[in-house]
């Protein structure tokens, strides 16, 4: 069941001053500014919240948390929204679910992220044949600068983090 009640509690003293919106470096790309998102949380408009991609664009820079005059944990609230969306697999967060899922899968397998593998997993998860084309430009640039190694996806190797991941899952599932 998707809920934002626990997040609402964290944000109750919000006074809509807009410091978060004005501070957010990603606000330009968001479909609604953070202040509006928090207002929807306070008014229990769950559907509108999860139809938005605002929280998935939070890059955890902590500007808003640092500057908020009420001292609200806004970055934490963003993460909690991501968590809710991830768990509930909301359609609006499909992109984010696939992206973070692929990232973590690569980490699970090797104890670190392998960029090409991560992106391949992401493309597969998104099931969109045209998607790789969108990333070709930046991919080539990164390869040229030797930021990304070309490796084929492989199964878990010796350094896999399976046990760690299992433990985390177990902790998360505790009542």
């Amino acid at each position: 069941m998707i809920t934002t009640t626990h997040i609402k509690k964290l944000l109750s003293t919000c006074m809509q001053c807009g410091t978060c919106t004005a501070s957010c470096p990603n606000a330009f790309a968001m479909d609604m500014p953070p202040r509006k998102l928090w207002r929807l949380v306070l008014m229990d408009r769950t559907e509108d919240i999860f139809n938005s991609t605002t929280f998935s664009l939070c890059s955890t820079c902590y500007y808003c948390t640092l500057r908020c005059p009420r001292g609200l944990p806004l970055t934490l609230a963003m993460s909690l929204l991501k968590e809710q969306a991830f768990k509930a697999k909301t359609p609006g967060y499909k992109n984010g679910t696939a992206f973070y899922g692929s990232f973590m899968e690569s980490v699970r397998r090797h104890g670190r992220v392998r960029e090409t593998e991560f992106m391949t997993l992401y493309f597969m998860a998104m099931k969109n044949p045209l998607l790789p084309v969108e990333f070709t430009g930046i991919g080539l640039k990164l390869i040229k600068k030797q930021k990304v190694a070309i490796e084929l996806p492989s199964g878990p190797d010796g350094s896999n983090l399976d046990r760690l991941f299992k433990k985390v899952k177990e902790i998360e599932e505790r009542p």
């Binding site: 109750s12 003293t13 807009g18 410091t19 509006k36």
Partner: protein, 1127 residues
């Protein structure tokens, strides 16, 4: 101690301290007024202009009855009252004893320049070689170490800042009056011992320290050092760790055994840093690593010296009956904390207080508005509100500072009024708190006439734009989400903080502190208190409230003094000094002209004296030398006493220096001070000086004796209205031995208190009402007449006669000395927002009453909407009613507590929760109450249908109109005056545009009518809370007691009169008199002037077509002669 030792001690000589001191002084008590600063006036001394007049009106606080007791001139320059002793640079160190009988230990800073001698010539500042930041101008600009602490003070004596003085001594010989004594350098008493086995280290350290003035000894080994320590009292030891025989660690241990309080700094090379760190645990203060720079070591020594340096103060012990703390307030320092606004980083970012100095004529730019960064005029200025207020971050200041909104509006208005009107001013705010009666109107004028732009947004940071050379502020406003704007200057409206030594002071006075570190002042006051807090010391408040709370504190102090049998005395003038009657004598004036011993102005002065000596009414002409010095003055006194003169005119520089001396001379000569005059003959060109002396001589020749007779005071007060304000005032007066008649139109006393249950802080109003009514009924000196009203009143301050009509009793005539109007206010009736169309729509009062009658009143209500400002702050009632926001919060919080699942929406324009009500606004949000802001052009819409009520409101953040269907709709319809127009008019008071009592001055005389002897309190003055009503009631009682505590009222020397033979009874003067001092005696058919009410303004004399009205001291013949003498 001198004979003026106080009955009361007032700590803090800001506006509140001055008010409290004057209150007690006017009731005949001796007051000692102290301030830690070198000047008086506190925060107000830095503010040249105050809203709403955008001028200064501080002088309106001066005494109005027995005006002659106090010097009648600009109060910002100084306070001179016979019963007040002012002690500056003085702090309260401790307090012993019980209420009514305290011993206060004061510390008075030693004055390097003797203020009794200094004549303010400024020679010391001219030669002083050291410059320091200008503290009065908040460190904007520089000043000399020898400087004037307050540019406009009178008498203006110089001071020397000993923290920065180098004791060069340059000022001592240039002082013409030998006022400067520089004390010996206490640095030589700060002995330093340097212990090191290396000679070069010892020698160089000795040289550095001795150059700075410290006494230095050296020891080449630990053993020698240990021998030297018990023999000399060292303040500090530098100790090397690695030494031959005994190492430093061991020396430290033994030295600490001999002298535990000795401060030790260890010296070490890199190799032994670890050892050095270890020594810190054994009592070493710190360690320094060799090799070191002299500057570094000297700074450390200087810091230690400053901490331990003997105080340059003299202890003063004072016996006092009561103490009032009016120490004012501190401000948030924006450069501490995260400082996202860059205060102290970018010169163009200033605080509101700094901005006040920048635009002041005595400020660093002489009143020009220039950008501190480049000295050019600004084009755009932004104000950012709530900096360090309403914040839960940075240590937290969850209160609202209450003053900043109006302060910002005033500053922005001033910019438009005083400087090029092209300057754009923008105020960024979250809630514009214009909660006083006239504030909303001031805001409207600021927007309409002064083009101030108000933007609802909170800028989060300010950054310097290098390319533009301007400041860029970053914010999200209501329309474009993320934006930035460019300004030349940014003014931060910084919030208030409790004063630095708040907890120490309050501990001394047994005053409890509230959650936010301010004193908890309770209404009504608790019995057994002897120390009181007043003014902005007790919480954030503006001048109006500060004066009310200062007078409330002085009333409590007065009651205590009264109960402890400290009788207030009638003024000494009436009591003792008898003046000789000179009315039948031919004017014989002694003209005294002064010249300086140092300047060569003696010839000029002698020539001038010779030219005036020929005038017939000048009987003697004395040329004196250095009257500003004690010797000079004593010489004059010895010369003048044997002379048979009846007028004295003194020509000198700095006339204000002679105020006190003239009073003394007047007593010695038994000649009324009215026959003395002092004129300035040196600060002007010679021709002007000559006319001034001529005018003074002519003016004084015409002076006639003061013939007004004292008026007997009827020690009875009439209080109209028995709500909480009326009852509080009546009790306060009755406790001070005044007979009180309380008239209430309802059948029982209590007023609004009868339907109120509790306030937001949980004070039980039913209990308060019960206790107060009981006290009222039980008091032997209070007579309560219910079901009655005032039918007629006439008379003057000290003696009114009123007719009381009552339904049950017969008509009653009351003779009384003062009238207090406490007619109160009611909730406004409204048909807006569907009120009256559906049972679920009710006003705040109806809600409160429904809850009281029926605990199950809210059953079945799971959604409640509250709408604020219904018919308020618009064309219907253009003022804020102040109580509704707090009241709505109270109900919302209570409701949420009892029904946690209820949805509560509060639709508001600006939440008016000033001061310590702001934390409740926050609590309400925490409790889950949703606040939606609306504007006048998008008011909420209420639709009433058979099945219920729907409210449509535009939500500005989500940017869509939402619809709520509440089961209860509560409207805040505001407060209106309880029709006091007729009552007020009968009593002779003015009524303002909103129907409330019009005070003589909104800020400086908040409860007085312009007509002396008439006061108002509570909601009759304007909407206010129960606590504020009680404070204003105590203030009104205090103001009344100034009159009632006297047996007789003495009129001032300068009052108006009528030549009845010339008077045509046109009555123009009666209408013109602003003080209601004139009336037509219909029996004798003459116009009479009440000398007590008359304030000597002269309006009547100017308006009279027949010259029948005149002002004593300014008669027609006299004025024409004076004009002749001027040329």
């Amino acid at each position: 101690m001198n004979d003026k030792q106080g009955n009361a001690l007032v700590v803090g000589a800001g506006i509140a301290g001055i008010r409290s001191a004057l209150d007690l002084a006017e009731t005949g008590h001796h007051v000692t007024l102290i301030d830690a600063s070198t000047y008086m006036g506190g925060i107000l001394s830095r503010l040249d202009y105050q809203f709403p007049s955008d001028g200064c009106g501080m002088c309106r606080m001066l005494p109005l009855v027995e005006r002659d007791q106090s010097a009648q001139f600009c109060l910002r320059r100084g306070l001179f009252h016979e019963n007040i002793e002012v002690m500056l640079s003085t702090t309260l160190e401790s307090l012993e004893g019980d209420p009514g009988n305290y011993t206060a230990h004061l510390n008075r800073k030693v004055q390097i320049i003797d203020p009794e001698k200094c004549n303010g010539c400024g020679a010391c500042a001219e030669v002083c070689p050291v410059e320091i930041p200008d503290g009065f101008n908040l460190n904007r600009g520089r000043q000399k170490v020898a400087h004037l602490p307050l540019p406009h003070a009178l008498p203006n004596t110089y001071t020397i800042d000993m923290n920065a003085c180098t004791r060069c001594g340059a000022c001592v010989p240039v002082c013409p009056v030998d006022a400067i004594t520089i004390p010996e350098d206490p640095r030589k008493d700060f002995r330093i011992l340097v212990v090191d086995d290396e000679l070069i280290v010892r020698d160089s350290m000795k040289e550095w320290f001795e150059f700075e003035g410290y006494a230095v000894d050296m020891a080449e080994s630990g053993a020698t050092a240990l021998e030297m320590i018990p023999e000399n009292s060292y303040s500090l030891m530098f100790l090397d760790i690695k030494m031959g025989q005994m190492d430093g660690t061991e020396v430290l241990k033994r030295a600490k055994e001999i002298c535990p309080e000795l401060k030790v700094i260890m010296m070490t090379a890199y190799a032994t840093v670890e050892t050095a760190v270890e020594t810190l645990t054994r009592g070493a203060l710190e360690y320094i690593v060799k090799p070191f720079e002299p500057d570094m070591v000297l700074t450390k020594v200087d810091t230690l010296y400053q901490d331990t340096k003997p105080p340059v103060t003299t202890p003063v012990t004072l016996e006092t009956g009561t103490v009032i703390f009016t120490c004012g307030t501190d401000f948030y320092e924006p450069s501490t904390g995260k400082n996202t606004y860059g205060h102290g980083v970018y010169p163009d970012v200033v605080t509101a207080q700094e901005f006040e100095r920048i635009i002041s004529g005595t400020g660093p730019t002489g009143g020009q508005l220039l950008r501190p960064s480049n000295g050019k005029p600004p084009e755009r200025i932004a104000w950012i509100q709530c900096v360090g207020s309403r914040t839960l971050q940075d240590g937290g200041a969850p209160w609202c500072s209450s003053i900043c909104c109006m302060h910002a509006l005033k500053e922005a208005s001033l910019v438009h009024k005083k400087f090029p009107q092209t300057i754009e001013t923008v105020i960024y705010y979250m809630d514009m708190r214009c909660f006083g009666k006239t504030f909303e109107d001031y805001k409207a004028t600021a927007i309409a006439d002064h083009q101030i732009i108000l933007k609802r947004a909170r800028p989060h940071s300010v950054r310097w734009d290098d390319a533009l050379g301007k400041l860029r502020i970053f914010l999200a406003d209501m329309f474009t989400d993320k934006t930035d704007e460019v300004f030349d200057m940014v003014v931060l409206s910084v919030g208030v903080r409790p004063v630095k030594d708040m907890s120490a002071l309050c501990a001394m006075g047994d005053i409890p502190l509230n959650d936010w570190g301010f004193p908890n002042v309770s209404f009504p006051g608790k019995p057994g208190q002897g120390v009181f807090a007043g003014g902005s010391f007790s919480g954030p408040m503006d001048i109006h409230d500060t004066l009310i709370h200062a007078s409330s504190a002085s009333l409590r102090a007065l009651t205590l003094l009264h109960n402890n049998a400290f009788p207030g005395e009638d003024s000494p003038e009436i009591k003792s000094v008898s003046y000789r009657d000179v009315s039948m004598e031919i004017p014989a004036t002694a003209l005294v002209l002064c010249h300086c011993a140092t300047d060569d102005n003696e010839t000029t002065v002698r020539e001038m004296a010779a030219s005036f000596n020929v005038l017939p009414h000048v009987s003697h002409c004395i040329v004196a030398k250095n009257l500003c010095t004690r010797e000079g003055w004593e010489d004059l006194v010895s010369k003048i006493l044997p002379l048979k003169v009846n007028r004295v005119v003194v020509g000198s520089c700095l006339p204000h220096l002679f105020l006190k001396k003239i009073k003394e001379l007047s007593a010695q000569m038994h000649l009324h001070p009215h026959y003395f005059d002092v004129v300035d003959i040196f600060q002007t060109p010679l021709a002007t000086a000559r006319s001034r002396v001529g005018m003074a001589l002519t003016g004084i020749r015409h002076r006639t004796p003061d013939t007004t007779l004292p008026v007997r005071v009827e020690k009875t007060a009439l209080v109209i209205g028995a709500g909480i304000a009326g009852m509080t005032a009546a009790l306060a007066l009755a406790d001070n031995d005044v007979h009180v008649v309380v008239v209430e139109k309802a059948q029982k006393p209590g007023g609004n208190l009868l339907w109120l249950h509790k306030n937001i802080t949980g004070t039980d109003f039913s209990l308060l009402a019960k206790k107060t009514i009981e006290a009222l009924n039980a008091h032997p000196r209070i007579e309560l007449i219910t079901g009655a009203s005032l039918a007629d009143t006439f008379g003057h301050a000290g003696h009114f006669v009123s007719t009381i009509e009552s339904e049950t009793q017969e008509v009653k005539i009351v003779e009384h000395g003062v009238t207090l109007v406490a007619t109160g206010g009611n909730e406004a009736v409204s048909t807006a927002m569907g009120h009256g169309q559906h049972p679920s729509i009710m006003t705040l009062k109806e809600l409160e009453q429904s809850l009281g009658d029926n605990p199950a009143a809210m059953d079945g209500v799971d959604c409640m909407v509250m709408i604020q400002c219904v018919d308020c702050r618009d064309e219907n009632k253009p003022y804020c009613s102040r109580v509704c926001c707090t009241s709505a919060l109270k109900h919302a919080l209570l409701m949420k507590k009892e029904h946690p699942d209820m949805f509560i929406y509060v639709l508001y324009r600006d939440m008016m929760t000033p001061g310590f009500t702001e934390p409740f606004f926050n609590q309400a949000r925490e409790a889950g109450i949703v606040f939606i802001q609306y504007t006048l052009d998008r008011k909420p819409e209420v639709r009433v249908e058979a099945d219920g009520v729907t409210v449509r409101i535009f939500e500005p953040i989500i940017h869509e109109t939402i619809e709520i269907a509440p089961q209860r709709l509560v409207l805040s319809t505001g407060v209106v005056s309880s029709k006091p127009r007729s009552i007020a008019e009968i009593a002779g008071a003015d009524v303002d545009a909103y129907g409330f009592f019009q005070p003589a001055d909104d800020k400086f005389r908040p409860v007085d009518s312009i007509k002396e002897g008439l006061f108002a309190c509570g909601m009759a003055l304007g909407p206010r809370s129960v606590a504020d009503s009680m404070a204003s009631a105590e203030t009104a009682a205090m103001r009344a007691l100034r009159i009632l505590n006297k047996t007789n009222l003495k009129a001032a020397t300068i009052t108006a009169g009528v030549k009845t033979t010339l008077c045509s009874l046109c009555e123009l003067c009666i209408k013109a008199c602003p003080y209601g001092a004139r009336s037509l005696n219909s029996e004798r058919m003459v116009v009479e002037v009440d000398p007590v009410m008359c304030q000597g303004c002269g309006t009547c004399a100017a308006i009279c077509p027949a010259s029948a009205s005149f002002l004593n001291g300014f008669k027609d013949r006299q004025m024409l002669d004076i004009i002749d003498a001027a040329f």
